[in-house]
């Protein structure tokens, strides 16, 4: 049962073939069996999950009509607050902190009867592309335990690929939902900025951060998207409009007559040949279904990575000022308040977080502000214009999600620039605030590891990604004869 899709599980629950307690226990058992090897979870809420599941079973047995995902388990990225449950953001700074409130995403999951199994590992404060920056140790890619599961949401993607959960929540500031999905053979969606509330999401870079659904199929992601999305008065940047019809689009999957724009700048040098080959094969499948493939140019995308690594650190240096040892979180040392802050932030933050805080402090300091942060904001305008022009020629834009398949743990840990290049294809959408999806395109011929196909759509047209994603997923499934994760090595008890 744990290998089924979330929607198949929901159907089995509805038909009374299995109870939510049984389904939840099956996932907890899988976690017990494999998580000592994968390390997807930082906290497992066994009691809470079973009690949520029991409550759903009781409601169902009493004949109450339940939402579609009721009783289905989910893994929550540890950057989201859940009342009374440890929330660390992968940092020593928040070790042991139990937030006194639910994030809006958690509130909506609970309203929808989704069972929260626990909190997943991540790069500290969501800064990274490999989950190696977690203060609690790395997560291992279920496809090859010596490799990274992507980042920052590597715990969520690994949990899906290891069948520890059928659904997960991620957050995406520069690719932290999509790149982990790409390297684990799973599906991840960064909705339009403002499409899912940020209330209770511990802020990294507020103008870029966006929570979204992670799953093993496009349709599962669509159901989760509908459950968590929509206006929230607790987030002043939440868009006050209905959630785009993503479930209907995923069920439709008809791309006949759609124009699909291939971004010239997001391929070529730096992209692994096997990843590009799979990308081109996917395009061919979409063309066979009646989509028209066009090439578009977004010439300022070459500057996106540079702009991102000024904007995100600048916003992070300001956002992480809240960790001041006064109201919650770690407190180290004695003396003046300033001494305590200095010592606590030194002890509580890891290397990458410090690096970005210092970089951001520099970019925002007087004398450098215009040259760095100011220039980066202008590049942001140019990238948005590139997208606007490209969307005049195409309904959706596509690229490989990440330039390579999963690399070895430790391989890039000492080379920040090489690490940052992982996000080269995902960052432009965050800068422009539009949506992006990654779904598996196959296994690269060089290493047999999964690669991702990225689909981008204009703001609040997220349904287009689901339509195209669903069409491609169906064509690939027909070609392979089984889901991609059926080829992943079986993880045994250790």
């Amino acid at each position: 049962m744990i290998q089924k899709t979330a929607i198949e599980m929901a159907a089995a629950l509805k038909a009374g073939e299995i109870s939510s307690v049984e389904l939840t226990q099956a996932h907890l058992d899988q976690i017990t069996k494999v998580d000592s090897q994968v390390h997807a979870f930082l906290h497992i809420d066994t009691e809470g999950a079973i009690s949520q599941a029991r409550a759903i079973d009781e409601k169902r047995n009493s004949g109450v009509e339940l939402p579609p995902l009721a009783g289905v388990p989910l893994a929550l990225k540890d950057v989201m607050t859940q009342k009374g449950i440890p929330t660390t953001c992968g940092s020593k700074m928040l070790e042991g902190w139990r937030p006194p409130y639910d994030s809006t995403v958690v509130t909506r999951l609970k309203e929808n009867g989704v069972v929260i199994l626990g909190k997943t590992n991540m790069d500290e404060f969501a800064m990274g592309s490999s989950t190696e920056n977690s203060a609690y140790g790395p997560t291992h890619n279920p496809w090859d335990l010596t490799r990274i599961p992507g980042g920052s949401g590597g715990g969520s993607s690994a949990a899906l690929a290891a069948f520890e959960a059928p659904l997960a929540i991620g957050t995406d500031t520069g690719g932290s939902i999509r790149q982990p999905a790409a390297v684990t053979g799973t599906v991840g969606v960064k909705p339009t900025y403002g499409g899912v509330s940020r209330y209770g999401l511990v802020a990294f870079s507020s103008s870029l951060d966006q929570a979204g659904p992670c799953a093993r199929t496009v349709l599962d992601a669509a159901y989760l998207h509908e459950a968590i999305g929509g206006y929230d008065k607790l987030d002043s940047t939440s868009i006050n409009a209905p959630v785009p019809p993503v479930v209907a689009a995923a069920k439709d999957g008809n791309v006949k007559g759609m124009k699909i724009g291939v971004i010239k700048e997001l391929q070529g040098d730096g992209y692994q040949p096997g990843v590009l080959k799979l990308f081109n094969e996917s395009l061919e499948l979409l063309a066979q279904q009646g989509a028209e493939i066009v090439e578009v140019s977004c010439k300022y995308f070459d500057y996106a990575l540079a702009a991102y690594y000024l904007i995100a650190p600048s916003e992070c240096s300001s956002n992480l000022a809240r960790f001041d040892a006064m109201r919650y979180g770690m407190r180290v040392g004695s003396g003046s308040a300033e001494d305590v802050m200095n010592l606590t932030r030194q002890a509580g933050f890891g290397r990458e977080v410090k690096r970005r805080i210092i970089l951001g402090t520099y970019a925002l300091s007087s004398g450098y502000y215009d040259a760095y942060y100011g220039s980066a904001q202008k590049v942001r305008t140019l990238i948005s214009r590139d997208f606007e022009n490209a969307f005049k020629l195409a309904d959706v834009l596509v690229s490989p999600t990440a330039p390579t398949t999963a690399f070895k743990i430790g391989e890039k840990a000492n080379d920040p620039i090489a690490m940052y290049l992982n996000d080269i294809a995902t960052i432009p959408t965050n800068l422009a605030g539009i949506g992006g999806m990654s779904l598996p395109s196959g296994l690269a011929e060089e290493d047999g590891l999964p690669a991702g196909f990225q689909i981008m759509a204009p703001a609040m047209q997220d349904d287009r990604m689901y339509k195209v994603g669903s069409a491609l997923e169906a064509a690939l499934l027909a070609k392979w004869g089984q889901p991609i994760l059926a080829s992943a090595p079986k993880l045994g008890a250790k």
């Binding site: 702009a307 030194q346 305008t381």
Partner: protein, 98 residues
Amino acid sequence: MSNISRDDVANLAKLARIDMSDSELDHLSNELAVILDAVARVQEVAGADVPPTSHPLPLKNVFRADEVRPSLTPEEALSGAPAQEEQRFKVPQILGEE
């Protein structure tokens, strides 16, 4: 190569309230020089005629009605406090003796 000295990094660490070790300062000044070289590219295309974008959405102030409504209890609000006293956050001394 961007000109960022070890003293510059030490000053940034002071501004950011991080008591960095000597070896971290050495390491980071080298790394920052490389990273700044890579990101300085934004200046190539940031012409005076390009307006800056600080946020993907047109932001406006959002106000709510000034009404009493349920919120965290003092116990909940203080639940994560490193130290507390009489329903307040207890913090190290901020001002001098004078």
